[in-house]
């Protein structure tokens, strides 16, 4: 089948290395499982009307955020799109603060003013989820510019979907990032569809990483996004290049979203088939790692059950916290339009 050639694993079986450190594997598994169960809970909350507006779940793509963000220093920067819940959690915004933001409550990480698409957190240098496709890519280049301007060795990770490679802002930002050697990782989370339009129907290039070829000094790397170790390994090298050589990279991470584009989109049936969905679900990044660990004997079934239980409790706690948090008072309406300071 045609789609098979374009699978996340690009025609190769999903290979999860388990030779690594079992403690690391458990950490990675926990990080991905938390995102998975959090997003399932988000879906429930949305169905109950606790969450409004547009809401884009991250289910299926957890290895990308876990594999990349987990390797950053606290003073590095992360910026992303409207599909930002997973990255926010991995970066260290608490599940409570993320869920409260989704609920539109005062204890949310953006004080209820941002919502699902605009999670921000200054404490963890999480520079937002941004709602206009492509517009945050120049912002990421600007963060890289500031790092270099100050002579720092931080890096900025810019997450984006596959549809971004076709918009002008992407090219303008990558051009200047390469021209000025800015320490930015441009991470395309290629989940195969920009909303309902497949990559093949939108991009005049098969291999999105090839977009990097237009910019001297920028590496274009293809990564199996269902394999958290593959993501980690590739990201690690790119992060080091950015940190030590101030060189940008373009990472095409091949992944898949197991839910619709947003809550109003059917999971399958319109622009993608049930068969295709089933196939990708067989490469599930969370359960692939779990199964490999079980096979390798580094994860016992009771340990997994305990992890599930612990994560479920965290997610329920986030829900309870969000539900109890007050809505922003009417007085907040006119707050934070402008600051009243000068420098």
């Amino acid at each position: 089948m045609a789609s098979k050639k374009k699978t996340a694993a690009k025609g190769t079986p999903c290979t999860v290395r388990t030779a690594g450190d079992p403690a690391l594997d458990r950490e990675l598994l926990h990080s991905m499982l938390l995102q998975r169960r959090f997003e399932e809970k988000t879906g429930e909350a949305y169905a109950l009307g606790k969450i409004g507006g547009f809401c884009h779940l991250y289910i299926g793509q957890e290895a990308v955020s876990t594999g990349i963000i987990g390797q950053l220093r606290p003073d590095d920067y992360v910026i992303g799109t409207y599909r930002d819940h997973g990255q926010a959690l991995v970066r260290g915004i608490t599940p409570r603060a993320v869920m409260a933001e989704l609920f539109g409550r005062i204890d949310g990480c953006s004080r209820g003013k941002g919502g699902s698409m605009h999670l921000f957190d200054r404490n963890t240098n999480f520079l937002g989820g941004h709602g206009i496709v492509g517009s945050h890519v120049p912002l990421a280049a600007g963060v890289g510019f500031a790092i270099k301007y100050r002579g720092g060795d931080q890096v900025c990770i810019c997450f984006m979907g596959d549809s971004v490679v076709n918009i002008g802002a992407f090219h303008e930002a990558l051009n200047m990032a390469a021209l000025w050697k800015l320490p930015v990782l441009f991470v395309i989370e290629n989940n195969r569809y920009g909303m309902g339009t497949s990559v093949e129907r939108a991009a005049a290039v098969d291999d999105l990483s090839k977009r990097a070829d237009g910019y001297t000094g920028m590496d274009g790397i293809v990564i199996d996004g269902m394999d958290v170790h593959a993501v980690r390994d590739a990201a690690c090298k790119a992060i080091e290049r950015a940190r030590t050589e101030s060189r940008p990279s373009l990472l095409e991470v091949r992944t898949y979203r197991f839910r619709g584009h947003s809550m109003s989109d059917a999971v399958s049936g319109t622009y993608r088939s049930k068969d295709e969905l089933d196939e990708y679900q067989s490469y599930d990044p969370v359960f692939s790692l779990r199964d490999a660990m079980v096979v390798a004997g580094t994860l016992m079934v009771p340990e997994w059950e305990a992890m599930e239980k612990e994560v479920a409790a965290i997610v329920q706690d986030a829900w309870d916290f969000a539900d109890a948090s007050p809505e922003p008072p009417a007085a907040a309406l006119y707050e934070d339009v402008l600051v009243d300071t000068t420098s």
């Binding site: 953006s110 520079l127 937002g128 206009i132 280049a141 051009n175 600051v339 300071t341």
Partner: protein
């Protein structure tokens, strides 16, 4: 006091602020090696080096966004648009990124940035290079919009704009760069959000800003000869607008004309008239009239362009009408 051009005044403001704060940098097309398309940045590359005076590719959306991103993490960019006509390509960064960042982040990320460049028509540049964007930009909560008409105001306002911790849109004028005026030798600042009564009279108020301040002053000179004495109120900052200054003037003169460079529909004048009718209704002796560009794309032909633009004759006619002297 020295007599300098508007261009030199802006150059001094940039130089002084870049010397004062090393987080301030200038980025845009031709700002460095070329010394600025309109020479506003002349000499700055030599003085501050290429890290702080950055020649960008022709990519307004990209470099405007780079400015915003860098401002989120602590720099204080001045982004030069060769003209505001080209800034339409970057409007997403001005509106969706800069103006909204503080609000949608719940107060966590302010964006201390200045977007500046010439606005409005020059001479025979045709439809795509002759647009005044005050009303477009002033529509947006989360940004401030300045439109100075004299060298003195340009320098003092730009310095304040650079020190402001919010995004500021700074509208200059190609036809203003060579105009001259007195500027103090020492440092001074002009606060954002305060209008300036450029001339005091008792018969009618002209509310205006930017390039049109010069037209209003000519009109005031000319009408004074006929015994009509105008208050010329220069808004200086269009957002936030100094409504108290408008009310004080209109309550005194009881008549007003709003003079702006841009188009009529949903223009700045429409908003000023709204403020006046709400707060000064009982003081008015005549309807408030507006002078603005003809409601057409700017034509190239010299004669057509002249009649499309707001000018002294149209303003005089409007003043006489509200004075019932037409």
């Amino acid at each position: 006091m020295s007599i300098i051009t508007y261009r030199e005044a802006l150059n001094q403001a940039l130089r002084e602020e870049m010397s004062r704060d090393d987080r301030v940098y200038l980025m845009g097309e031709e700002v460095g090696v070329y010394n600025g398309a309109y020479k506003v940045s002349k000499g700055l590359l030599e003085e501050f080096g290429e890290n702080r005076v950055v020649d960008s590719p022709i990519a307004e959306l990209g470099f405007a966004g780079i400015g915003v991103g860098s401002a989120m993490v602590g720099l204080r960019p001045v982004i030069e648009f060769m003209t505001w006509n080209f800034a339409l390509l970057a409007i997403d960064q001005v509106v969706n990124s800069a103006a909204k960042m503080l609000y949608m982040s719940g107060g966590q990320y302010n964006v201390p940035i200045v977007f500046r460049g010439p606005n409005g028509a020059a001479l025979q540049l045709g439809a795509q290079h002759s647009q005044a964007f005050e009303s477009w930009l002033a529509h947006i909560p989360g940004i401030k919009v300045c439109s100075p008409g004299t060298p003195y105001d340009a320098k003092g306002l730009l310095k304040s704009a650079i020190r402001d911790d919010n995004p500021v849109v700074f509208l200059e004028g190609e036809m203003l760069y060579n105009t001259k005026g007195e500027v103090p030798d020492g440092e001074y600042l002009i606060p954002l959000g305060k209008a300036d009564l450029k001339r005091a009279g008792s018969d009618c108020t002209i509310v205006t800003s930017g390039k049109m301040v010069l037209v209003a002053m000519q009109v005031a000179d000319q009408l004074a000869k006929d015994g009509i004495h105008l208050d010329v109120l220069d808004l200086l900052t269009i957002r936030p607008m100094d409504v108290e200054a408008i009310y004080a003037s209109v309550r005194k003169t009881q008549r007003a004309v709003v003079l702006e460079e841009g188009w009529e529909i949903c223009g700045i004048g429409a908003q000023v008239v709204d403020f006046i009718q709400r707060e000064c209704f009982d003081h008015l002796d005549a309807p408030v009239l507006r002078v603005h560009q003809a409601d057409v794309p700017m034509p190239y032909a010299k004669g057509l362009e002249k009649i499309a633009k707001p000018d002294a004759a149209k303003t005089i006619a409007a003043v006489k009408q509200v004075m019932y002297r037409a």
